[in-house]
């Protein structure tokens, strides 16, 4: 039992922090978030060619680095901290995980190298539901010979308009709940796929809506067993949830650092506001929430590794994901709100960066389910 980063993991974390501090500066974030694609393609290429982050947890046989979820989480934490605008969550934490969990060898061999080379991929599964699991799938498929015909609308698709490759979840016409779910993977230039960016309040992460109209997919696109992909989808979503929680933990650290720094520089009534107990105690609570967030996220990352490798603790995945996300969602939003409060008037301006974190915090809280949703998931495990 050793629940600390290894030296190698520390190095990965520190390298990520240094790289992102330089490349995902406030100016860079602000330029990227209003750009056409919502991210800087040159930076994305550099992340892939110089940092190998897309390859991090992809097995070596597919050209990846073969590292684990702990390493991935160490990098994601820094991405959240520096508010990196990039299709990383979608490509790595959603699509790559989907391929690792449910993809055939052929699909992995085809798509994972593309992702490693910087292609953008994402996962589309829900529309307007308040659920964040297989039950939320509303797009339907029907068989036509050996093909599958998909119809329906997806919403909240991360980087959906930029993606080169999509993983689609769909349900057998007439099925309900967790039944009849299938996963498909395909390029986005097929006929029958219509995509539109959704303008987002949190401009640092893009979302899209995708409408599939008689989208015809052949058998080679099917991931796993037809009609029985609910467990796979739920596992993919749990893995993505842990990744998102890692970002949230990183964001929490940054809003704390910004707030402490600002409070030390701002004088009121003849002293820096950092000296007032009201501010000190807010900051102390922020630190508490941030530190235990990290503990929850690192534990969940260890469990994610178990789940990806069928280890003995693999069955803890859903619980670990819900623990991390339920804590991080409320905690990040609280911390970001306190950061605004500590910054006073300037925190309310577009010029200061606090609002970017504040909006990211709220968007990340809702995405993949908020604290109440995940607590109820845990309650079901405990009480029903």
């Amino acid at each position: 039992m050793d629940f600390a980063f290894t030296e190698e993991q520390q190095m990965i974390r520190d390298t990520a922090a240094a790289f992102l501090k330089a490349s995902s500066s406030s100016a860079a974030v602000r330029a990227a978030m209003v750009s056409d694609k919502g991210f800087d393609p040159a930076l994305w290429q550099s992340i892939c060619a110089d940092m190998y982050w897309q390859a991090l947890h992809i097995p070596e046989q597919y050209g990846g680095m073969g590292l684990g979820y702990v390493e991935l989480v160490a990098v994601l934490e820094q991405m959240g901290r520096y508010l990196l605008c990039a299709p990383y969550m979608s490509s790595v934490a959603m699509a790559t995980n989907a391929l690792l969990v449910a993809g055939t060898d052929a699909q992995k061999a085809l798509y994972l190298p593309q992702i490693i080379e910087g292609k953008i991929a994402s996962l589309a599964f829900n529309s307007a539901s308040r659920d964040w699991d297989a039950c939320a799938v509303s797009v339907t498929y029907r068989r036509d010979g050996n093909d599958f015909i998909l119809n329906g609308n997806y919403r909240y698709v991360l980087d959906g308009d930029n993606a080169d490759v999509m993983v689609f979840a769909a349900r057998d016409e007439g099925s309900v709940g967790e039944n009849g779910i299938s996963l498909f993977v395909c390029p986005t230039d097929l006929n029958g796929i219509e995509r539109a960016a959704l303008p987002t309040m949190d401009q640092t992460r893009r979302q899209a809506t995708i409408t599939v109209t008689n989208l015809r997919l052949d058998e080679s696109t099917v991931m796993g067993d037809v009609g029985k992909a609910d467990k796979h989808l739920n596992k993919i979503l749990d893995l993505a949830t842990i990744a998102l929680a890692a970002e949230q933990a990183g964001g929490m650290q940054e809003v704390l650092d910004m707030s402490v720094e600002y409070s030390k520089s701002r004088s009121q009534f003849g002293r820096t506001i950092a000296g007032f107990q009201a501010i000190k105690h807010k900051a102390a609570d922020m630190m508490l929430r941030g530190e235990v967030a990290r503990s929850a996220v690192y534990y969940a990352a260890c469990i994610a590794d178990e789940a990806l490798n069928d280890g003995p603790l693999a069955n803890e995945l859903s619980e670990a994901a819900s623990i991390a996300k339920s804590h991080c969602s409320e905690a990040y939003f609280k911390n970001a709100g306190e950061a605004l409060q500590i910054h006073g008037g300037v925190g309310f301006t577009w010029e200061y960066d606090v609002h970017l974190y504040f909006k990211r915090a709220k968007a990340s809280e809702h995405f993949l389910g908020g604290s109440g949703y995940h607590r109820e998931r845990v309650a079901k495990m405990l009480l029903d």
Binding site: A128, R130, L198, Q203, G270, Q341, G345, K362
Partner: protein
């Protein structure tokens, strides 16, 4: 204690409600529910026209005494006026700083010349005011004023230099009232003056502040040798703090009930949304909606108590807590609104940054717990004035 209004008051309620129903139409219909906090930058010209319309009907400055041209309404009728105004969705008042702050200050502290020069423009809805109060380095430390006023013997005018911030409607206003330091050696709340400054002059520059919402209703105002006539100081040089504090007192009052009616409109929208999108079935959301409803009801009861109070002889503690209470309630409403929206909360109306009303509410209400004294400062004030606890230590 009695809750009902008198028949005369109910008659008055019918009168103002009827006038609004008759007049908030045509060109003004588009102004319904617009121009409130977070939306104050919208439709300025149309809202100025609405102010003139109000003035024609005798509905500006309803609480001012009749002898200065006001309507001289009783407290009860003012409450009714503000409630009906907000209930009808009549637009955010362009004239509220003139009517609620500048005017009452002049009535209380101004010279006869100042009253006859400035009150008519406020009453007629033709001249608008903004407030030059906060400064970048001041924040909650209100008395930390750095803006300077020097009397230039040669021109016989005051020369104002410095910067104000968080000035709403500055670019739409004819006048600004400004606190500035008349005694350059003075500190804190001593040696200040209260000036009435014309905005349309070379020495005044307005720069909008881009806010968290992507819009700008607050501004920075720069004074570079801005001029102010000798007779446009209210009270004497050195009286500025007293005048300004008197003014702060006017900020709280009967208009709180109108504010609450606006809150009720927002809450209604939140409730409707929850019913429409199914969130009203979520037991946790139900608790929060009920809590918001309860909180607003209690806010109203508290205001009624505040307005009726005094005869009770007690320190008006229910007034002391009011800012902290409503600001926190309103901020929580903003959070509730987006949590009911769920993932849809992140999706805007249009690029580049057009928010819907609830998103705007969510973001804009973050300022409620900051301006006019942060929640922290409010708690200090409550503890010190309401409970007699020690003042903050000052560093040696």
């Amino acid at each position: 204690m009695k809750l009902q209004f008198s028949p005369e008051d109910e008659q008055f309620r019918a009168e103002i409600a009827g006038w609004l129903a008759d007049n908030l139409v045509g060109e003004f219909a588009q102004l319904k529910f617009r121009g409130g906090p977070g939306d104050e930058h919208m439709f300025p010209e149309e809202r100025k026209a609405w102010e003139r319309k109000l003035a024609e009907g005798g509905w500006t400055c309803v609480g001012w005494p009749k002898e200065v041209g006001g309507r001289g309404l009783s407290i009860e009728q003012q409450v009714i006026f503000f409630e009906e105004y907000a209930r009808a969705g009549a637009p955010g008042r362009m004239g509220h700083i003139g009517e609620g702050l500048a005017g009452p200050t002049l009535i209380a502290f101004g010279s006869e010349e100042q009253k006859s020069k400035y009150l008519p423009g406020i009453l007629s809805g033709t001249e608008f005011w903004c407030q030059g109060y906060s400064e970048p380095s001041a924040g909650s430390d209100l008395a930390n004023v750095k803006t300077k006023a020097r009397f230039d013997e040669a021109s016989g005018k005051w020369q104002i230099n410095g910067q104000k911030v968080w000035t709403s409607l500055a670019h739409e206003s004819e006048y600004c009232f400004v606190i500035a330091r008349t005694d350059p050696e003075s500190k804190a709340h001593k040696g200040l003056g209260f000036f009435l400054i014309k905005m349309d002059q070379p020495g005044v520059t307005v720069r909008p502040i881009e806010q968290i919402t992507g819009t700008s209703e607050f501004n920075e105002v720069f004074f570079d040798d801005a001029e102010c006539a000798a007779e446009d100081i209210v009270g004497q040089p050195g009286d500025g703090w007293k005048v300004a504090m008197g003014l702060l007192g006017f900020e709280r009052g009967v208009s709180t009930l109108g504010q609450q009616m606006a809150f009720q409109n927002e809450l209604n929208e939140v409730v409707k949304l929850a019913k429409d999108n199914g969130a009203a079935k979520d037991p946790l959301i139900r608790q929060r909606i009920a809590d918001a409803h309860i909180g607003l009801k209690i806010m109203r009861y508290n205001s009624l108590r505040m307005l009726s109070g005094g005869s009770d002889g007690s320190l008006q503690k229910e007034a002391l807590i009011y800012k902290l209470y409503w600001a926190t309630w309103h901020r929580d409403l903003g959070e509730l609104a987006v949590d009911i929206l769920g993932p849809e909360a992140d999706i805007m109306v249009n690029a580049p940054y057009e928010l819907n009303r609830l998103q705007s509410l969510f973001l804009f209400t973050r300022s409620d717990t900051i301006y006019g004294g942060t929640n922290q400062i409010q708690r200090n004030i409550i503890a010190e004035r309401g409970l007699g606890m020690p003042k903050e230590l000052r560093p040696v």
